[in-house]
């Protein structure tokens, strides 16, 4: 088994924490795991990209080879499109939050953010399956946009062939989140998995 997963988004969306949770879960399961992170000026509006690589035979390198991503989680809808040419392929499964985060050049009118339909079509057309989720709204209803990453992990855990289950994730967050935050995060995971079951 080797699985290449990309989690992509922008600074502040909880990308690094989500990858760490998966990484710890993988270690608990005895899997080989490598997570390559790129987060240059992420806190200042830049993209954050995690390559999460799981294997049961050998330790993978930190960068996914060309067009070899099995699954892509987009915390923001433009970012998965950005990595499509380099890492996507006809069999890639995309789990994408529909809510855009407009960069400054879009707000200022210097660049045009592609519309929803184009983003959806692009990912549908160049992959095997797209789960297009209104996850930010759900996160806000749960208590804040910061819950987004757990909703997306819940969705990811339902994917065929993904070796980490929702209960594996719950076991990890029990060790890193304070007691008071557990219920909310568990709820986010459960809602995330329901989102894709219904999709």
């Amino acid at each position: 088994m080797q699985l290449n997963l990309i989690i992509t988004g922008v600074g502040g969306q909880g990308n690094v924490l989500a990858s760490q949770v998966l990484g710890h879960a993988a270690v608990h399961k005895g899997l080989f795991v490598t997570i390559g992170e790129t987060f240059g000026l992420s806190q200042r509006g830049g993209p954050v990209l995690s390559h999460i690589r799981l294997s049961d035979t050998a330790l993978p390198g930190p960068i996914i080879p060309p067009n070899a991503a099995h699954m892509v989680v987009g915390l923001e809808p433009l970012e998965p499109v950005r990595i499509l040419q380099e890492f996507g392929n006809e069999d890639t499964v995309f789990i994408v939050n529909s809510r855009p985060i407009h960069p400054l050049n879009v707000i200022a009118g210097d660049a045009k953010y592609p519309d929803d339909r184009w983003l959806k079509n692009t990912l549908e057309c160049f992959g095997k399956k797209l789960y297009w989720l209104d996850a930010t709204e759900l996160a806000i209803s749960l208590g804040g946009a910061i819950m987004l990453n757990m909703i997306m992990l819940g969705a990811l855990s339902e994917m065929d062939g993904f070796p980490i289950s929702k209960s594996d994730i719950k076991d990890v967050i029990r060790t890193i989140f304070p007691e008071s935050k557990l219920e909310m995060n568990h709820k986010a995971l459960d809602l995330g998995s329901k989102l894709v079951q219904n999709a």
Partner: protein, 635 residues
Amino acid sequence: MKKIFQKNGNINLLLQGNEAIARGALEGDVSFCSGYPGNPSSEIIETLADAASHLPIYTEWSINEKVAVEAAAAASFAGLRSIVCMKQCGLNVASDFLVNLTLSGTKGGMVLVTCDDPSGISSTNEEDARVFADLADTPLLEPSTPQEALEMTKWAFDLSEKINNIVLLRSVSHLSHTRSVVRIGELPENEKKARFDTRNPFHTFPVIAKHNIRHEKLKTAETIFESSSWNPYQGPEEPELLIMACGSAWCYVLEAVEIAGLTGRIGILKLGTTWPLPKKIVRETLRKCDRILFAEEVDPFIETAIKAYAADLGEEAGGKTFMGKASGHIPSTGELNPSIFLNLFEILFGLDLINKTYREKVGEHLDGVIFPREFGFCPGCPHRGSYYAIKQALAWDNRDGFISGDIGCYTMGIWPTGFNQVKSVHAMGSGLGIASGYGKLAQFGFDQPVVTVCGDSTFYHAGLPGLINAKFNKSDILLLVLDNSATAMTGFQPHPGTGSTATGEDTEPVDLEALLRSLNIGVDVADPYETEASAQKIYALLQKKGPRVLIMKRKCALVQGKQGGFPYQMSVNHDVCLGESCGCGRYCTRIFRCPGLIWDKENMKATIDQVVCVGCGMCADICPRGAIEKTGKRN
């Protein structure tokens, strides 16, 4: 206590490369840890600072990298093991001490970690700090994985004590910021006592003799390298291609060879000890094959050394074809990845390895649609206010003035959220040095006003000498210290002005204003949020001569956010905002460019993104119609 600090070994943990280096130092019985923050190195000292509350070690953020190495050297001279960590630019700062330290030698094991940043993902440059190993005659280790980073760091202390000299360990972004499963070892428990043996001084004299000793030490290191396990060869006895690889590049090579199905045709020599070259191993491996490819990041460091060694070998290594950065087979700049090697194998072995049809189709579809995300200041960032005020003042002054910039978040003044006012950026503190030069150009007809900006952390690091130079030489310099009470860019590490140390201990903060006043130069303070008043102060200062300082004092917005947030609820009064017909050309969103201000496409007017806006209130002063309103925040 976190698991990374536990005494027992033999468990698997998920560790970041930098955490693995920190654990390696602890397993290597380190006592003294120092460094200066800078991505991708910062987490090593952060981890060791955290460790200092559980284990008997000392950790500090030093004022700059040179002082960090000097402080760590003291521990070594007194017989303790020490580690000092920095990014590639930091080693430039430390190098003056380093090239002398390697003449005097060290006592307690001493390791210097440099984290290089191929592609300059979070740096002002792309630089290969390995050249300092050659320059200063220090052994150099290059781990490829977090596991190896841990083991090599630990091993480096022993090596350092065997040769009585400092050892360099080089990481890169994609090792420092890679997490993987790491098997940790046990922490030692040795009683330690620091003592300087006054019979054995540490200095560089007599220089030639010490230089010879330094070369002997390097030879000893070479022998140790040759019998170490850090340089394994894998592949057939007579490969069609031999790849010599180090660091993260080795991971990419290994994977590309497997994907291409070339494991039976390509041999890989993994070099973990890259300076001095383990010549015996290189020589034996060179015999296997006449086609050699070098895989390493940033400069052709092992490539150049091995080619030079092959020349020494004469006929024995004659007729070899060397491929790498010099021949153009490997890009001479930028981070490497598996794709680069797969593309090369396609050419060298006539294979079809990349899904070109897919890539072309996607490329055509995305052409012209995808754009990079613009970097910019956070909502509520005081730097936006400072640059707005400077821009205003320079416009009033009307002599084509500009800003000499420096290193920190405010480097982004070269881009639109700083109104493109910053016209030069180089190294820590350089903005002041350059400005002190402009300040002496009047006799050559130079009549443009120059403002130099410097953050508080950068000012302590390397800014002070430039300012004193200006005072000494009576240079016309206007310095704006952008004092946000934080080392914000690298993750809020404490510095001399913040009032706490790396380990969170209270310490009396340096009084920046008093320090500047002691130079007997004009010092004033302004609030970046008061853009109009600040602009007037800056304008008035521009009309004066000699060294002048204005402290733009306001805490980093992220710090303010954590400390209880901002006082205002912002809104745009759509009865007052005229939208496109105003004539301002969407001044607030297009020019002021705070991410909290957005354009309401339905009403064609400006509006506030209440999720993003923090309520700093700055934008209320910039709308020509006064349509942006601030009211007290509802609780």
